[in-house]
Symmetry: C2
Subunit: 336 residues, 2 copies
């Protein structure tokens, strides 16, 4: 049974194992440096559907099906699914998951959703409130662009600080038994708003939330940087990552093993992605392919996975609001 450690952290007894996982990627992501790790790479980004929103739903459906198959479980044995996405009213998840017949806990954590869903799905298994759970999220470049920025046909210029929304989906199936990796601790983050108003500079808006949650975790657990192979944020990108390093150093936290999914999913120079990748699917895809593969191979043993989300909408930006952000942390280990 999980117990609280310090002010913000919840420690698990190692009863929540990743039983299986899958990562589905879009075409551009499939041309990047992590392509070997993906279960599926789309030939085009339609996923055989007629609208980008339906493509995103289809990607969630297919990814969950693959994760379930790799876990050796059928939908009818899954007790709960924790999912959400960036689309208005989370229609990526609501439509993508409607045929599974699994009790559905809808989430909104913006790009922190993979960490949020994994944390909740793990705690439900750990506390025996569920036997088998699933956690997943997605993003799609084309559905996100037209919702948050401009229709693709408009051909808007991108600023140097802007990030590229990943077309991708990651899903993990949790159970008491499984090869792992294993969820050991979670820290749910507070909403942090430092007044950043530039919706093309999400990394800067999210970095303070990541700093706050990482600091809370280290304060609570008295862990040391060297306890972890990687401390992996979700989608701060190059700009947000630099800022995070600076913020943590000011707090006396030097973390040489900090990395970011948004920085490793693309080849920055060759793929013209400006400040890196972003979107719920960015961290979900990297975690549920590259990272979990390496943890199963024992090449990576201890990680802090810190999902970062910018909690804004086009409406809030138009109304002159700043961008509140949140970061949730999950400590994952290859050992039970």
């Amino acid at each position: 049974m999980a117990s609280r450690v310090g002010r913000y952290t919840i420690r698990l007894d190692g009863c929540a194992a990743v039983r299986g996982y899958a990562g589905y990627a879009g075409k551009k992501e499939g041309e990047g440096p992590l392509s070997d790790a993906f279960d599926y790479i789309a030939e085009d980004n339609t996923f055989g559907e007629k609208t980008w929103e339906k493509s995103e739903s289809r990607m969630q459906k297919d990814t969950l099906n693959r994760a379930l198959a790799k876990s050796g479980v059928t939908p009818s044995t899954v007790d709960m699914i924790f999912a959400g996405d960036l689309l208005n009213q989370c229609i990526g998840s609501c439509f993508g998951l409607r045929e599974f017949g699994i009790p559905f806990v809808g989430l909104f954590g913006a790009c922190s959703t993979m960490a949020e869903s994994l944390a909740l799905a793990s705690l439900f298994v750990e506390n025996k409130s569920a036997n088998v759970t699933a956690a997943l999220t997605s993003s799609h470049f084309c559905s996100a662009e037209r919702q948050f920025r401009y229709p693709l046909e408009y051909g808007g210029q991108r600023t140097p600080n802007s990030q590229w929304t990943v077309t991708g989906c990651g899903a993990a199936v949790l159970a008491a038994d499984g090869d792992g990796p294993f969820v050991k601790e979670v820290t749910f983050g507070k909403i942090i708003d430092m007044g950043i108003k530039d919706a093309n500079n999400m990394g800067a808006a999210m970095a303070p939330a990541a700093a706050e949650t990482i600091k809370a975790y280290f304060d609570d657990t008295r862990a040391r940087a060297e306890d972890f192979d990687i401390i992996l944020t979700g989608d701060l990108g190059f700009v947000g990552h630099s800022l995070l390093c600076e913020l943590l150093e000011r707090e006396g936290l030097k973390l040489p093993n900090l990395a970011d999914c948004g920085m490793i999913i693309y080849d920055r120079e060759a793929q013209d992605v400006h400040a890196g990748g972003s979107g719920c699917g960015c961290s979900a895809l990297v975690l549920c392919s590259h990272i979990f593969n390496n943890m199963r191979a024992k090449k990576i043993n201890e990680i802090l996975f810190v999902g970062t989300g910018a909690l804004m909408s086009p409406t809030s930006v138009q109304q002159g609001e700043s961008i509140p952000s949140v970061a949730h942390l999950v400590h994952i280990s290859s050992k039970k």
Copy 2:
């Protein structure tokens, strides 16, 4: 510690008590039959803010502050808050709650959010993963109309089946100690889609989800209708309620004590609300004022609270999609 009962239900040991709660209402709701129960009734629906979205955020902030004060706890003692709303990217919650400094678990359950948040907040307390939690949600007629239908200035005609989005917010604070009422069981629902496509007939879209979850609960627990003073759905309204009665009868479930928050929050004839109230705030406000007041007064002792949500967006409707729905059930008792 909570344990699973049957296929879908989780039973609590009575360790999750409602320590305090508050309900804030708009002007129209304050003119309805439940007005005496509300903590605050707005003179106009701006709540002193310049845009309807900011009004909704402000309502969440004020309601949570009142619920915390009535619970005798400060924000710094609350371990987690579970919240969400209907606005794109849940900005009602993200902006309304950003100043509290409480770890934030963002939810999207459409109008089922009060049941979803209450269920999660209770389970975290019950399983000792948190000491004090809060659950809340809201809706606002004006922000919902312009997002889901037409700008108010357009003066669109409403169809007879349509419902009136409640301007209101309900918040509950949960802890191991408190006067109650107490959360005893929860059943998270599946996504159900019976192919209803009329976005002006949400009640019909949501009724099958309510029927499914209620049936799952009775199958799991072997409870009888007479064990409950009220079985209270969220916002089916008059049309959806009739349909739910019919669907349950077909399944052999005769529940004479079925009621719906959307039917009791307004005076149907005098207030011109067509098929009744709707919105996340509808069930949140009724529960966190009228119902909890009556439970504390022991006039109502056992209820099943069944939040109902239509998981659609304007985009999904425009693309010809049907309306998937979900219903989450919480069994609440005045006795520990």
